[in-house]
């Protein structure tokens, strides 16, 4: 196994690059087709994007977020440590953590070949919440509990358990106490703990006052990516409470038991963690669209646009975890993270299948201080088509419910109902449609639209573990490409079971997986062919003309 990695920033590259001449030209020359600057790549919207512009997860570690994580509470209270020294500390830390990451990667290389099957018990520990008998949780003293690939813990700064992915929070209160002690110990020195790497495990800490989030993982993900997942969990909690309420509560009472307010939401958080292990949307920081003929999608979007109300901010139609259409208020942009949280909410509960739900929801990246109210309903029982209407007004249920009725009526009148049903029958396309024999799977993300496309995962990735292994490989490539201290543009990875190639430009990201017998030259020509195919199919695979009310 070898990873042929090229560090590519400007012209530093030693040559032998993936795309002919890449790295010697400016960024525009990055693509095989001429003129692929950001905004013109396949999948880029024609009339601007519908999302807040994000740069994948760099966005998450931007100064706004990342700075807060590195800061100690003393600094936040403005008591000690001038900014310059704090900057120095956090700089030291980022250097330190890179070294550690390097070490861990070597460890991973050792662990990697074929051992995974042996090491991993099935990640099945379904949670049966029962209010009566308490949760039927695993025994945290058992080996099976220790063997989980990724544990996630959330605690308050008082060391009180808020959430644990496996096992009951009560049984883990002393463990969480130790975690808080570690955090506090370093903070006493005006420092911050970011991660511990040992024995194939990564223990990653994310500090978002008044909460501390900790992951203990044996996955191939980088520290950065695990921290990114923890942030998703943090945002998930905010979406239930708002940042304002969360802070208010802990200001009033430092040792508050937050589980009281989060009761019944464990399933949503569990589901988010499971989803992140399966769905590349979170890794890509982008949204996947349901493949749909442009004419049908336009008709759906227009119907959605016409069924508006004063209080509506976003109308979203989705199927599975794929976007069918999104209409937004002028000048209001949704953040992909917020949309992912909405997708997760819907997929985590079967209670939306019937009736119409009306629930307060905070979209933390849009506005972490207030609640929107979401109307959630499925269009038809048998159809996997969920309508989400996001309103600013708590009292507006009946108005918004009427919007749904009007939307359905228009859909019927336009006669696209049947076409939509047809499209839902094949929600994923096969990679065979691209016509490249060695190509097994790919992920292509258009950076300007925040949308990505990816075929169904097919043989040989049939079993769940195999699918997760493939996503794990993508995660690995992604983490190398986006390493904050040493980002890479092109990565060619040869493994015993498949070869992978990653290509990151300012306009798009492409990850392809193909046969282990394929050659590098073959991969490069496959990329060219694939890019042409995506361009040809872009109006089916992406939403090119996003609508506003």
């Amino acid at each position: 196994m070898a990873a042929d990695v090229q560090a590519g920033r400007g012209g530093e590259e030693p040559g032998g690059g993936l795309a002919p001449g890449d790295g010697q030209h400016g960024e525009r020359a990055d693509s095989p087709t001429p003129g692929l600057a950001q905004g013109t790549e396949p999948g880029a919207g024609q009339e601007g994007a519908m999302f807040v512009h994000t740069r994948s997860y760099e966005d998450l570690t931007s100064p706004e977020d990342g700075g807060a994580a590195a800061r100690s509470p003393e600094e936040r209270r403005g008591e000690a440590a001038g900014p310059s020294s704090m900057e120095q500390i956090s700089k030291d830390f980022s250097e330190l953590s890179t070294q550690l990451t390097g070490m861990a990667l070597d460890l991973e290389e050792e662990m990697r070949p074929g051992k995974e099957g042996k090491l991993e018990p099935a990640p099945q520990a379904a949670r049966h919440d029962s209010v009566l008998s308490g949760k039927e949780e695993e025994d945290v003293t058992m080996d099976a509990w220790r063997m989980h690939r990724k544990h996630v813990f959330v605690l308050s700064e008082a060391g009180k358990p808020v959430y644990s992915r496996y096992g009951s929070e009560e049984a883990l209160s002393s463990t969480m106490g130790v975690m808080m002690a570690l955090v506090s110990f370093l903070e006493a020195d005006k420092n911050a703990i970011r991660s511990i790497h040992a024995d194939g495990y990564k223990v990653v800490f994310v500090r978002r006052s008044p909460l501390v989030l900790v992951a203990v993982a044996r996955t191939r993900q980088s520290e950065q990516e695990i921290a990114h997942e923890l942030l998703y969990i943090y945002y998930q909690i905010l979406s239930l409470l708002t940042w304002t309420q969360l802070n208010h509560i802990f200001q009033q009472k430092q040792n508050y038991d937050l589980r009281r307010l989060l009761a019944g939401s464990e399933r949503i958080t569990d589901n988010l963690l499971d989803l992140m292990a399966h769905d590349p949307s979170f890794l890509m920081g982008a949204v996947r669209c349901l493949p749909l003929a442009a004419s049908v999608r336009d008709a759906v979007s227009t119907s959605l646009q016409q069924a508006k109300a004063k209080s509506l901010v976003f109308s979203i139609l989705l199927s599975g975890n794929q976007l069918v259409s999104l209409v937004r208020k002028k000048d209001q942009f949704l953040h992909p993270i917020d949309l992912h949280l909405l997708f997760n909410l819907i997929s985590s509960s079967s209670s939306f299948r019937e009736g119409e739900a009306w629930t307060p929801i905070c979209l933390p990246k849009f506005n972490s201080s207030g609640f929107f109210h979401a109307h959630i309903s499925y269009l038809e029982q048998e159809m996997d088509l969920c309508l989400l209407l996001v309103s600013t007004d708590r009292e507006d249920f009946f108005t918004v419910s009427d919007c749904k009725r009007r939307f359905q009526e228009r859909l019927r009148r336009r006669g696209v109902h049947h076409a939509l049903q047809e499209a839902l029958r094949t929600p994923f396309y096969s990679v065979a449609q691209v016509g490249i024999p060695d190509l097994r799977h790919f992920i292509y993300k258009s950076k300007s639209s925040g949308l990505f496309t990816s075929p169904e995962i097919e043989a040989p990735y049939v079993r769940e573990e195999e699918k997760e292994r493939l996503l794990g490989l993508y995660q690995y490539l992604h983490s190398r490409a986006h390493n904050s201290s040493r980002p890479l543009k092109n990565i060619y990875f040869t493994g015993p079971r498949e070869n992978l190639l990653a290509w990151v430009t300012s306009a798009f990201e492409l990850y392809i997986c193909y046969s282990p017998l394929g050659t590098k030259a073959g991969a490069i020509s496959a990329v060219n062919k694939l890019m042409k195919w995506i361009r040809k199919e872009e109006d089916r695979l992406f939403i090119l003309t996003p609508q506003t009310y």
Binding site: D129, A263, G264, S350, S351, A357, W358, P360
Partner: protein
Amino acid sequence: MLVGDSGVGKTCLLVRFKDGAFLAGSFISTVGIDFRNKVLTVDGVKVKLQIWDTAGQERFRSVTHAYYRDAHALLLLYDVTNKASFDNIQAWLTEIHEYAQQDVVLMLLGNKVDSAQDRVVKREDGEKLAKEYGVPFMETSAKSGLNVDLAFTAIAKELKHRSMKLPNEPKFKLHDYVKKEVRGSGCCRS
């Protein structure tokens, strides 16, 4: 509108009434409030019930409060196998008093009577509390279906009588109707 602590069986009661089925398996908590319709025929007249199923958790209180005042009838549930849910009934009644309409139809239901072994709230306790507040009371089971239809039908009858107000029809007495129709949970009860 169905109200009561989280996990007392509000959604299960509604599903039993609406679809005649019992939601077995794991507990799924309702998110926010959930709106469903059901058309009933009461004394030859069609009555459309618009039913709000609410989430029992604290964090959803603000939404439920907003919709109390539109409710014509409230079914307040507790779980006979969970003492805390019964103890909270007083708090619920205070809340109802504060937010709901003055003349709202109210009924107290002790759910899950099928779990006889786990029962911790006696039928008499429920009756006593209901009497204290002057509300009709019955024990139900979403699992076996005991008294489920009766609870909703009684509400529907009361609402129908209120809205039609036929002059020469005798006034519908919800209390008496419930007393007459209610069935006990055990075999030895009348």
